[in-house]
């Protein structure tokens, strides 16, 4: 049985590598469509990590919503709004490079120190389990108001996007 544990551990590190290089690619690439591609790779890695956190449903939702919807919307936005050659010529070098490096490194070390100094104690008693049945029940019974509010937010976002996006690129 132990060999399966090691195989899953190797796969875990493969997902971490996906997250790592996807994140690096999405902030460091010159062409904006490559950034979107890196974002998709990074989200796929996070979806793999959700498997290890005992939630295959959230993993599928991550792929469905983030990779399938958000990245596609971003690709559409890039395709409608820009042409890649313009972007590649204009943004060969980012601004605020030193500020970005300094803020990134300082935040990383502060938060890592916080993680390693803290004591995380598991809960004494657990209710429910990781099944989809329990998730759906608590979504409908306990978090019903938030469930309705999120649908209202999505409706408002769709209407607002339609109103803001009227007119297209406006070339003609």
């Amino acid at each position: 049985m132990l060999i399966y544990h090691y195989i899953s551990e190797v796969l875990f590190f493969a997902f971490i590598v996906l997250v790592f290089f996807g994140g690096i690619l999405s902030v460091k690439s010159k062409i904006i469509i490559h950034s979107v591609l890196g974002l998709a790779v990074c989200f796929l890695g996070v979806a793999g990590l959700y498997f290890y956190l005992d939630s295959p449903f959230l993993s599928m939702m991550q792929i469905l919503i983030y990779v399938g919807a958000i990245c596609i919307v971003l690709v559409f936005g890039v395709m409608v709004g820009y042409t890649p050659t313009q972007i590649a010529e204009k943004h060969l070098k980012g601004k605020n490079f030193m500020v970005a490096i300094f803020s990134g490194i300082s935040v990383f070390f502060l938060m890592s120190a916080m993680i390693f100094k803290s004591e995380f104690t598991p809960a004494l008693s657990k209710t429910g389990d990781f099944s989809m049945e329990w998730l759906g029940k608590s979504l409908i019974y306990d978090y019903c108001l938030a469930f309705e509010l999120i649908s209202l937010i999505l409706l408002a976002a769709i209407i607002g996007a339609i109103i803001l996006g009227q007119g297209g690129r406006g070339d003609n």
């Binding site: 875990f12 919503i65 297209g168």
Partner: protein, 105 residues
């Protein structure tokens, strides 16, 4: 001792995602690039919720519900932000945040 069974591994990955998002947000190149960085930050928050949900939370449904809401919020945010970016591009003919001055005043 497996790394996939310790909370600190997931927290470190989430910190990495957060830092990457902050880096991309500060080193802004374009509106869409900043939007991508915001997505990274949101995703790191969701990963944190899922990690604490597995290892410390008394009810395993809370973190999953929260992560679902973060996904919904992120989808709404991207829809709004992309249409705003297109509107700004239509008006100013550029996507550089430094060149869009009039909205600041």
């Amino acid at each position: 001792m497996f790394f996939s069974q310790s909370l600190e591994t997931y927290l470190l990955i989430a910190v990495f995602l957060f830092v990457t998002g902050i880096y991309g947000m500060v080193q802004h190149r374009s509106f869409v690039g900043m939007l991508i960085s915001a997505e990274l930050v949101l995703n790191s928050a969701a990963l944190n919720f899922m990690a604490f949900n597995k290892f410390t939370a008394p009810d395993p449904a809370v973190g999953q519900v929260f992560t679902l809401f973060i996904m919904g919020i992120a989808a709404a945010e991207v829809a709004i932000a992309i249409s705003m970016v297109l509107a700004v591009y239509r008006r100013y003919r550029c996507d550089d945040p430094d060149n869009v001055h009039e909205m600041k005043h």
